[in-house]
């Protein structure tokens, strides 16, 4: 697999505080990649290092296969990025702001202004002052600024921040369309739901360290096992299942019972034993299917487990996903 962003043992310290801690990040080409973590987890610091705005204390960075910071100019020529939030001159129009950025990008970028404005849906407001734009319009203008590079890679820091549901939907569609064109989109966010809807792969970061990384499907399928059961007597089934030692929790929804297995329990054999127990007790089992975990559930599982381990052992652990 080809990676457009690779870091090795990347570390950034500010005095005694470690903002980025031995990060091993690998972003597959052509994917929408979420860098997910709570506020203060070191997401923006990592992005600033990737873009050469901050020097790492230790470790290596490669962007589009080019070592940084040695090949910074070559790499950034094909990278569009927004750090923290897109900032523009409020008294200039959208088009004038883009022209100023295009001037820094080089000759070819000027010709991309109109298509970029069209792409983000701002052509009709391009000659209005940015001071009159809504936050969502400024975010879209920021994306247009990224497109001036005809980027192979877009790096967006919390792009959904402050957007209303409609704005989020529009931006999500736009980002997915970039991926469909073969571009890679890296977005940092603390909004789990948005990352889950937008991204193919994620890295979960906690206190500067990547604690889980992989495809979204892999990540949500791993970890705590869940089994969904449809039975003939949900009340009895609930009682029987809750008493089983393999089971951590039993919940109920409109489709039946959701059984969360104990951590470390092998899903197949444990499920077989549970079904056997129900059938032996005379409860009819109509359907058994694997239950999916949401990214949010996985995120909380991982961060909660790490917190527990830290409390117990006084040290951090990286989870293998």
């Amino acid at each position: 697999m080809e990676y457009v962003v690779e870091t090795h043992a990347l570390t950034k310290r500010f005095g005694n505080r470690t903002a980025v801690d031995r990060v091993e990040l690998r972003v597959p080409r052509g994917s929408a990649f979420g860098y997910l973590g709570p506020n203060g987890a070191g997401k923006t610091t990592l992005i600033r290092i990737l873009l050469g705005l901050l020097e790492p204390s230790e470790g290596n960075v490669s962007l589009l296969g080019l070592p940084q910071p040695q090949e910074r100019k070559r790499a950034l020529a094909r990278v569009g990025a927004i750090v923290e939030e897109p900032r523009f001159h409020a008294y200039l129009t959208g088009r004038q702001n883009l022209t100023a950025i295009a001037a820094a990008r080089g000759a070819a970028a000027g010709a991309r202004i109109e298509p970029a404005l069209e792409r983000v849906g701002l052509r009709g407001r391009a000659d209005h002052r940015v001071g009159t734009y809504s936050l969502g319009m400024r975010q879209r203008l920021g994306v247009a600024a990224c497109l001036l590079a005809d980027p192979e890679l877009l790096i967006l820091d919390e792009p959904m921040n402050g957007l209303d549901p409609g704005g989020m939907h529009e931006l999500r569609e736009l980002l997915r369309s970039f991926v469909d064109e073969g571009r890679t989109v890296v977005l940092s966010s603390h909004l789990l739901d948005e990352v889950e809807r937008t991204c193919d792969a994620v890295a979960i970061v906690d206190r500067g360290r990547i604690v889980a990384q992989g495809s979204l499907a892999h990540l949500t399928a791993s970890g705590t096992r869940r089994v969904r059961l449809a039975t003939g007597d949900e009340v009895r089934a609930h009682k029987l299942l809750a008493a089983a030692h393999e089971v951590r929790e039993v919940a109920r929804d409109e489709r039946g019972l959701i059984v969360t297995l104990q951590h470390g329990a092998a899903a197949g054999p444990a499920t077989a034993r549970l079904v056997q127990r129900l059938v032996a007790a005379g409860v009819a089992v109509y359907r058994v299917e694997p239950g999916e975990a949401t990214l949010e559930q996985r995120f909380h599982e991982i961060t909660a487990r790490l917190g527990h381990e830290r409390d117990e052992e006084g040290e951090r652990d990286v989870l293998a996903v």
Partner: protein
């Protein structure tokens, strides 16, 4: 750093940023062309109202006075332009948007020098042209400056405004603050310099003041219109002081632009 065409594009973009800032342009035009028009209009109206008491608005003496006014208010306009060119992108958060393009920071800084200077010199030249025209056209029977004096004075104004602009843009790039730069330089120009100019006992320290040294370059006739000064600096000393101010400000501004956290 970058090709000439890339550099030209950057300079053009910087000019657009300056000239589309309506408040800045209005203030700069008011401080340069506006004050000159008002000053000559008042002088001419006074003359027309009472020719016996008030002489014609033109002529050499009023040219000298108008040139002094031009340097004082014109330099404030140039300070505004320099401070905006040096710190405008930073203040708006736009500097980071430019840095992440991968363009060299030195190129970004370098573009600020000719862009604002061009705007400053166009305004100063327009103002000086007005002064020169009024001096000749409204002279009545009074003596007028020779063409040589007009040319010398014009070149001196260009030098004066260039030095002030470059110091302003360098200082603003160093400090990262438009308002602090304006306060410091206007204070230096309008408060510190006139006071130091009159402290005769200071000698060399006084010669190091930007506003003192630059006045030493003025044609003799124009110098007579400035506040009294007993200084007589050599051409070498004047050049050293002015080059020193410009070099220090520009190098410090470039260094900070390169090393600043974006």
């Amino acid at each position: 750093m970058c090709s000439p065409s890339d550099a030209l594009r950057l300079v053009r973009a910087e000019i657009v940023k300056l000239v589309t800032r309506r408040g800045l342009v209005a203030a700069a035009v008011l401080l340069t062309i506006g004050t000159t028009v008002v000053a000559y209009a008042i002088l001419e109206l006074l003359h027309l109202g009472d020719p016996a008491k008030h002489g014609p608005a033109g002529g050499t003496q009023n040219f000298v006075n108008a040139t002094w006014l031009l340097t004082q208010l014109g330099s404030i306009a140039v300070i505004l332009l320099g401070a905006t060119a040096g710190a405008g992108d930073l203040g708006a958060g736009f500097f980071r948007m430019l840095v992440v393009t991968g363009r060299s920071r030195l190129a970004l800084f370098a573009a600020r020098l000719p862009s604002g200077l061009a705007v400053a010199l166009v305004l100063s030249a327009a103002e000086f042209a007005l002064v020169a025209a009024a001096t000749v056209l409204l002279a009545g029977g009074k003596a007028t400056p020779s063409p040589a004096l007009l040319v010398q004075s014009g070149l001196w104004i260009v030098a004066y405004m260039s030095v002030v602009y470059l110091v302003a843009v360098g200082l603003a790039s160093l400090l990262g603050s438009r308002s602090t730069t304006i306060a410091l330089l206007v204070g230096l120009q309008l408060a510190v310099t006139p006071v130091l100019q009159e402290v005769h006992g200071l000698h060399v320290p006084r010669e190091l003041v930007l506003g003192v040294a630059v006045w030493q370059l003025a044609p003799r006739v124009v110098q007579a219109g400035a506040p009294r000064s007993d200084l007589a600096m050599s051409q070498g000393a004047i050049a050293a002081v002015l080059v020193g101010w410009v070099a220090a400000a520009v190098v410090a501004g470039a260094w900070k632009t390169i090393t600043r956290e974006a």
